[in-house]
């Protein structure tokens, strides 16, 4: 891709970007949210037409003016949000839009061909299964097979591992290596730098619509890539000033939810950050939901400052000073169509609303206070929150709960889907809050994050607590050993 530029009203999304992919290469595209990665890919895929620049495939200029022409040129995009039809079978999905048969659909042929493809790539999926019944990882495989069936020579994967467990990720990488052996070029978009070393050959970093540079993965360092992404040297990615242990503020004994969480017990001290590590499905979020009063039928004892309390609803939990920032801000937290101000103050309405009156000034002050504390970047409080970047949305979410002035703050995957710069800022804020005495529980699937930020790390697996480590003695291997089934 040579000199690609693309502007939208008010924003120059791509600025003379040059990008090159070799056959049989896995080339990573790295960059913060808003850097231009998705836009570049959409240009390649025929979803956007560039204002300037050309695309060359195998040396010849390619005419890509819509999705079909992109496909005809051998380009396939596997989006982050999978585009399969859950009510149809695997075979039907693979051949959607180009079903074999003259007058009527030749279902038998479709199934046989689809099964052949699946078997070639070692996928133990029956072509007759309804896609809706497959796991996310399997659905992703179907998308990849679909791409291959189009004779694609260029496959783009957008955040392919965001919903996969570790074993599923290795399976995906195995499939990628198979594709590579067939000389298919892969563009790999990901936030997770740990994956780059494992599967990618080269990496191109984008920032503010420009291609900042291309490196061979083996010849560069994470620090170099981070500073390219952020545009400055990020000296202290993690900020954590450990302090002497203070008194116990929260004690949980034998928390069970009657379904998968069994007998989870732990202690939380003032000014401490405890991390909950584990694989996806280990039951960490479920445990936190029990504590926050979101699970009916949960049992166990909870002691706050030494007093036994019963929490039967989120409102009660809030009254005791517990706050919970859920893991999926899009479906569990954000009111997308509302303003930043609305999203910031929704938990503390009583502080500025009485009967039929709203103290608008006080509301604006509250919203501004937490915008400032979190360092949220927004043109104004009235901005619709879905227009903000993921990192800023997450800051608003955390700010919303900070406004309730909690004693205990539970953060479920606080830096998921956020760019590097924002992540670092959130770590700094967590550190500051802890220093000021707040007790924080952090659930995270990112081991480096857990190891660098927690005082103590609890590891869960299959709904039970398998062990705990002090941060000084914790290593990724030790944690993974306990987390694995």
């Amino acid at each position: 891709m040579k000199n690609i530029s693309k502007s939208f009203p008010g924003v120059k999304a791509l600025d003379s970007v040059n990008f090159e992919l070799k056959a049989g290469e896995v080339h990573a595209l790295l960059g913060e949210n808003g850097a231009g990665k998705s836009t570049l890919i959409k240009v390649l895929g025929g979803i956007y037409i560039p204002d300037q620049g050309d695309i060359y495939i195998n040396g010849t200029r390619a005419e890509i003016h819509d999705v079909r022409s992109a496909q005809r040129n051998g380009i396939s995009i596997i989006h982050q949000e999978l585009v399969l039809v859950p009510q149809m079978t695997v075979a039907e999905n693979i051949y959607l839009g180009r079903e074999p048969g003259k007058k009527f659909v030749d279902r038998k042929k479709m199934q046989v061909e689809a099964q052949k493809l699946l078997n070639t790539y070692g996928m133990q999926i029956d072509a007759d299964t309804l896609v809706g019944k497959l796991t996310i990882a399997q659905q992703q495989m179907v998308e990849i097979i679909k791409a291959i069936s189009y004779q694609s020579k260029i496959v783009v994967m957008d955040e392919p591992t965001s919903s996969l467990s570790d074993s599923e990720v290795s399976y995906l990488f195995k499939t990628i290596r198979t594709l590579v052996r067939e000389n298919i070029g892969i563009i790999y978009i990901s936030h997770k730098m740990s994956e780059l070393g494992e599967i990618c050959d080269r990496v191109t970093v984008m920032r503010d619509g420009q291609a900042v540079g291309t490196r061979v993965v083996k010849e560069t360092t994470n620090d170099e890539l981070i500073s390219m992404m952020v545009g400055r040297e990020l000296k202290h990615y993690y900020t954590r000033d450990y302090q002497k242990q203070k008194k116990v503020v929260l004690k949980c004994e034998n928390i069970s939810d009657g379904k998968m969480v069994k007998d989870v017990s732990f202690e939380l001290h003032e000014g401490e950050i405890i991390g909950f590590a584990g694989l996806i499905g280990a039951g960490r979020s479920e445990t936190m939901k029990c504590i926050f009063g979101l699970t009916k039928g949960s049992t166990g004892n909870i002691f706050l400052d030494g007093h036994k309390i019963r929490i039967k609803s989120p409102t009660e939990a809030m009254r005791y000073g517990i706050a919970f920032v859920p893991e999926d801000r899009k479906s569990e937290g954000l009111y997308s169509l509302q303003s930043v101000r609305y999203n910031s103050t929704i938990e503390v309405l009583r502080t500025f609303m009485k009967f039929f009156s709203v103290n608008a000034k006080k509301e604006r002050e509250i919203a501004q206070t937490y915008i400032d504390i979190m360092g949220t970047k927004t043109p104004s409080q009235e901005q619709t929150i879905q227009n903000l970047s993921g990192g800023n949305q997450q800051k608003v979410m955390i700010g919303r709960w900070l406004a309730t002035k909690p004693k205990v703050l539970i953060l479920d995957e606080p830096t998921r889907g956020i760019d590097v710069g924002a992540k670092s800022e959130i770590y700094a804020i967590m550190n500051r809050l802890a220093k000021e005495g707040m007790a924080i529980i952090m659930v995270s699937s990112e081991l480096p994050e857990i190891i660098n930020m927690s005082d103590r790390i609890y590891v869960m697996c299959d709904g039970t607590l398998r062990g705990s480590f002090d941060h000084a003695e914790a290593t990724q291997e030790k944690i993974m050993k306990l987390a694995a089934k």
Binding site: K12, G34, G209, P326, Q338, K377, S380, N387, S389
Partner: protein, 331 residues
């Protein structure tokens, strides 16, 4: 995006609500004004449209639609719907009229009974919707039939005529130059506006409608919000039923047929999305006025009432399309 990365955080200057009202509703406001201008200029109606008598008459006629449209706005923002309002109009009107004629209740009590009827149907809707996962569409579709059925059963199919002057005052009377229903309308609009904009319940309606899952996590009592909104919608319909029965001098089991559609039309033309989570009362008011002016204009021009349906539907489509174009440009 490069733009938002380095901007300074502001927000101290809140936009004046009047300015915001005009900005948000520009499309339909223009449509309403254009409609009025056409009727003022058109020789067939120029002498009859812009008179205070006609305008107040038009407002009197539209007021009943606007009462239920207020309730409907809340229900739709919540992500639900209330199809039973038309039937509540019939049932409340008939029972209230029956109270006066058959049991000799004082008018004031009969009015309260009528509103109570609306409240009770709304309560029933609310309980079922809040406590079960049955969609509001289905629940209110059922009560729509049940309520009207009761109206027929109660009246035996024929109207219950009320001839007393006090009864006719509510729908046909004046206080000064203002028709009574218009005064009631002002009160209803102010009340609805206060609830939606100045109470916690109002905020919660937008929260539950926009992201019910997040509302649960926020500690909002989702069931209670759904319940209260249905009750409010029922009360509004009960009120509309009384006013209508007063204007028609009788409680009629056929009253209010299709009223829910006019209410939904007002809400939708006003810019509220059927998906829930967004929308404003101001838009509904303009939407309701567009429909009211349209009906009025067509009547003044003596257009065949069947054609009125066609014109109304076409205008609704046009208003929504214009608004759609406007929003597409800003995306």
């Amino acid at each position: 995006m490069a733009g938002t990365d380095t901007k300074e955080i502001s927000g101290q200057k809140a936009e004046s609500p009047v300015v915001r009202f005009f900005k948000e509703n520009l499309g339909i406001l223009i449509a309403l004004i254009a409609l009025c201008l056409i009727l003022t200029v058109n020789p067939a109606t120029s002498r009859t449209f812009l008179t205070s008598q006609n305008i107040f008459n038009m407002l009197r006629q539209t007021s009943t639609n606007l009462y239920i449209a207020c309730g409907m706005t809340m229900v739709i923002i919540l992500g639900g719907i209330d199809l039973s309002v038309g039937s509540i109009i019939a049932l409340s009107g008939c029972i209230a009229a029956g109270c006066v004629v058959h049991y000799h209740f004082p008018i004031a009590i009969a009015i309260l009974v009528g509103i109570l009827v609306g409240l009770l149907v709304g309560l029933f809707n609310g309980v079922v919707i809040a406590k079960t996962t049955i969609p509001a569409f289905i629940v209110t579709l059922a009560t729509m039939n049940i309520a009207r059925g009761f109206a027929y059963v109660y009246t035996g199919g024929s109207p219950v005529r009320v001839i007393t002057k006090e009864w006719q005052f509510i729908g046909g009377g004046y206080v000064g130059i203002f028709p009574v229903p218009v005064i009631i309308l002002f009160i209803v609009l102010i009340l609805t506006g206060l609830i939606m904009n100045k109470t916690r319940l109002g905020r919660y309606i937008y929260a539950v409608g926009g992201n019910a899952q997040a509302a649960e996590f926020s500690g909002i009592n989702v069931a209670k919000v759904k319940f209260l909104v249905q009750v409010f919608s029922g009360i509004m319909a009960g009120l509309a039923g009384i006013v209508l029965a007063s204007r028609m001098y009788s409680g009629q089991p056929t009253a209010g047929e299709g009223a829910e559609m006019d209410a939904i039309a007002a809400v939708v033309v006003g810019g509220t999305s059927m998906a829930g989570g967004s929308g404003k009362l101001g838009g509904t008011i303009i939407g309701g006025l567009i429909i009211g002016v349209l009906n009025n204009g067509l009547n003044l021009m003596n257009v065949n009432s069947f054609w009125q349906y066609v014109v109304k539907g076409a205008v609704i489509l046009l208003a929504v399309y214009v608004d759609y174009l406007r929003h597409r440009k800003t995306e």
